[in-house]
């Protein structure tokens, strides 16, 4: 009882631990499978519904693969699942068991964030690629396919793949801050989905606010065409939109790590 021979505290053990937690819940594979199916299906439906695809400019066609209905759902699910990784621990009190086992609280949050990011990047990439392929299959049938090398197509595909991990990490950060399931879900939906619709692009200041939000950034990045000089609204820049994509999850996770260190568990 006198010797405590602890092996070095390795971060990858925490990653493995969080991965066990994620995959040991039956809801994880079900939720991911159903979401992937729905989002891909929405890409098919949206392309099928685009009757003008054969005659309109080729620029617009890749856009069919990334309909808002599907990808807003993906945002919602990813944010909720990211939040649940922490909110479920606060709700049951498991967080206390976890914190006695790993008193380095910041490391636990980082491990959760890393596992969440990896999982949802994989899901996002699969869904994004599937959306593109399904949409192309429909367009090819009409002789209107678009190659992945066309300008803006790869960007739309990448942005759509990264949308899921960005939202999952924002959800995780909000979950650490708020700790209550309902409050976290409502806040996630409001910040990610509702807030951007409040601001139009016709006023400079409103457009500036809108362009700092995740869903507006995604909308800009999946749109392959650039606005012409005759455009009535203010349009976000592509680099600016990528920056928004990077900053939201970074800030969410950083604030979560800071808060979790200071607060009682």
């Amino acid at each position: 009882m006198t010797s405590v021979t602890a092996p070095p505290a390795r971060f990858r053990d925490l990653l493995a631990s969080e991965w066990i937690k994620t995959r040991s819940l039956r809801s994880t594979p079900w939720t991911i499978a159903l979401t992937a199916l729905f989002v891909t299906g929405s890409a098919a439906v949206s392309t099928l519904a685009d009757d003008a695809a054969g005659s309109g400019p080729a620029d617009f066609r890749p856009f069919d693969a990334y309909p808002a209905a599907g990808y807003w759902t993906l945002m919602l699910v990813a944010a909720s699942m990211g939040a649940l990784t922490v909110v479920s621990e606060y709700g049951s009190g498991l967080i206390r068991t976890t914190t006695v086992a790993v008193p380095a609280r910041g490391s636990v949050v980082l491990a959760k964030a890393a596992v969440t990011a990896a999982l949802w990047t994989a899901v996002g990439a699969a869904v994004s690629v599937a959306s593109f392929l399904v949409s192309q299959a429909v367009l090819d049938g009409r002789g209107a396919g678009v190659a992945i090398t066309c300008p803006g197509v790869l960007r739309a595909l990448t942005a759509s793949a990264l949308l899921a991990p960005v939202c999952a990490l924002v959800g995780l950060g909000l979950g650490v801050l708020l700790r209550h399931a309902a409050a976290t879900m409502v806040t996630s939906v409001f910040v990610l989905l509702m807030l951007p619709t409040m601001f139009s692009e016709s006023e400079r200041w409103a457009a500036d606010v809108k362009h700092t939000l995740v869903s507006a950034a995604w909308t800009r990045l999946v749109r392959p065409w650039d606005p012409g000089p005759e455009s009535l609204g203010y349009t976000a820049t592509v680099p600016g939109s990528w920056t928004v994509f990077a900053l939201w999850p970074l800030i969410a996770v950083a604030v979560a790590v800071l808060v979790v260190r200071r607060r009682d568990v």
């Binding site: 009882m1 405590v4 092996p7 009190g93 498991l94 086992a101 790993v102 008193p103 009682d264």
Partner: protein, 309 residues
């Protein structure tokens, strides 16, 4: 080093409420130390501060000489069961323990070992949500044992256990202490600790009431008394009072009993015999730990019922 858990001047305030108030005590290895207090006395808050979950408003607590929060991984230093509900109902017992073990670099075989130790091997693959409270308590104890730690803390561990489970837990705590570990066990029931603990730390309203070996604590309890039943209660009461005893009358009207302190049973019997008073009952009553506990914490109970004490 003979002190493993050291709590000094520990204080926790939530707004205007003081949950723990300048609390100081030590817990030694190789013994089971009971942590006793009425509901709301601050036991759980104290345990959380010892484990670094809650930061104290003032004061400090150390485990094996260091603040527990200083460890990067905790399970090899201390194991704790704070609340049996602190698990995810959707995970199996095995997955729950595997995740904890993996994070601390504890070999996977320990999961099977501790499940066997607490008698949950057969339920290892079942989801925890379907467990009874007693089973969840066992799972919590299993989690505490994972890292084979020198210090173990259990908050009300036998709540919801059946009598067989309580007996099992008692033997386990005794064995863990016999192995040289520090076992710190909280309860709001004296009877749970009576047969398990060597030492007692008693708190009420967040303040220390007593910290001493169980035997010393028992000795402080109510003085020995003798219950006497007789048809001539008033007469005998007068005789005993004259002999220097203090006598209280209790029980239903017409069948009153005397509770006599200050005279041993044999002297009371002799006085009755000499005065030809017939006795129907003569029962010496030992001081109970429960009495001692109730007396000491009487003025520090957080939630009292309306009944007179």
């Amino acid at each position: 080093m003979d002190v493993v858990i050291e709590v000094s001047e520990l204080t926790k305030r939530y707004g205007r409420t003081t949950a723990v108030d300048h609390l100081s005590f030590t817990v030694r290895p190789g013994r089971v130390t009971g942590f006793l207090g009425p509901n709301g006395a601050g036991k759980s808050t104290t345990l959380r501060m010892i484990l670094g979950l809650d930061g104290p408003t003032a004061g400090a607590a150390t485990v094996s000489g260091v603040p527990f929060r200083g460890h990067r991984r905790g399970l090899r230093h201390a194991g704790a069961l704070l609340d049996a509900g602190q698990v995810h109902g959707g995970r199996s017992a095995e997955a729950h323990l595997s995740a904890l073990a993996r994070g601390n670099g504890i070999p996977r075989r320990r999961v099977g070992e501790v499940l066997r130790e607490v008698g949950l091997s057969a339920a290892a693959g079942r989801r925890v949500g379907g467990f009874s409270l007693g089973m969840k308590q066992r799972l919590g104890i299993a989690a505490a044992l994972l890292g084979d730690p020198p210090v173990l803390m259990f908050d009300e561990p036998v709540n919801g256990m059946d009598p067989e489970g309580v007996l099992w837990a008692r033997r386990l705590f005794r064995r863990l202490a016999a192995e040289g570990r520090t076992v710190f066990l909280s309860s709001h029931l004296m009877s749970e600790l009576e047969n398990t603990a060597d030492d007692l730390v008693v708190i009420g309203r967040g303040r220390l009431v007593a910290a001493e070996p169980l035997a010393d604590f028992a000795a402080r309890g109510a003085r020995r008394s003798v219950v006497v039943g007789t048809p001539r209660a008033a007469e005998l009461a007068a005789l005993l009072t004259a002999a220097g005893a203090s006598v209280e009358t209790g029980g239903p009207a017409g069948a009153e009993k005397l509770v006599v302190t200050g005279l041993p049973a044999d002297r009371i019997g002799a006085i009755a015999f000499e005065n030809r008073v017939r006795l129907e009952e003569l029962t010496p009553r030992a001081a109970s730990l429960e009495d001692a506990f109730m007396q000491l914490t009487a003025d520090s109970v957080e939630y009292t019922t309306g009944q007179p004490r």
